[in-house]
Symmetry: C2
Subunit: 169 residues, 2 copies
């Protein structure tokens, strides 16, 4: 049997511990990108879309939700608005990604590679990601600050500076 089938949780927190999970960074990120359409909008931005009509057409997202999600992403500093001007038309807004938005790339790459592995069509993925320099396939990996590649099983999670217990009732 594959050794990996013996995968174990990577932290040893007592599950009876009444941790306060309200300041979890995963949950806080999901408050933004966990809404439907949001990551798909970002995907289209990375693929080159920038205009309201582009998003609407390729995603099939309702206009009111698209409008709400774009506004939220701009408020959060993940996208920024600029203007573009087609010859013969007036200036219109477009949406471009910010550095804060680009910092979501590792997370989205993680989702992408899991989907490529477990949920792709038989013939393979719809899109491939390559290193612009060398053309080799890229994916998200876990590394430690000392430069070692880290297996998921070898990650341990420990309470950090903002760790709190649930307030007593």
């Amino acid at each position: 049997m594959d050794a990996r089938t013996e995968a174990q949780p990577y932290a040893g927190l007592d599950p009876r511990l009444d941790r306060d999970t309200s300041n979890c960074s995963i949950a806080r990120t999901l408050e933004i990108v966990g809404e439907k359409w949001t990551i798909l909008i970002l995907r289209e931005v990375w693929y080159g879309s920038s205009r309201f009509g582009d998003f609407e057409r390729v995603l099939g997202c309702p206009r009111n939700l698209l409008s709400a999600r774009l506004r939220m992403l701009v408020e959060e500093g993940i996208l920024a608005t600029e203007t573009y001007k087609e010859p013969g038309s007036r200036s219109r807004p477009k949406y471009v990604i910010t550095p804060k938005g680009m910092d979501l790339v590792p997370a989205v790459m993680g989702l992408l590679q899991w989907g490529d592995r477990y949920r792709a069509d038989p013939e393979g993925p719809a899109m491939l990601t390559r290193h612009r320099g060398c053309g080799a396939h890229v994916d998200a990996q876990i590394y430690c600050a000392d430069g070692h590649a880290v297996e998921a099983e070898d990650i341990e999670s420990v309470p950090g500076p903002a760790f709190r217990m649930k307030p007593a009732d």
Copy 2:
């Protein structure tokens, strides 16, 4: 000005192109882990929880949703059920992570580190992730198959084997 503020989309797809996005690996992964509570359940599994009551207590998730999410995660092969037995009680089910579930770690690490960077409390994150071997902090990074660290700006996305256009109306 920081060079990173000039971040550009990493693909050059024509935004007018009527791509069929129904087989996108990101979207397919989100069908599973994009539902509320699902990633938070996985987080608790990684942190050491395995029982229905543990999840309910720490997450505050409604029981019917917790039940539905756990069933889905088992059906998808991300969790598996085993049994445990407390002395003086009958056997009860518990939930353990599978290798397929562990493969979601890079994606969740990506979400975690974005939250740590942009949405943590002033004093820092609630939890820290370390390499079990050397104790150094770990995070998700993008690497290419040739072993180069890759900046998000240097990723390009190109059509893959399952790339399709939208069926004509």
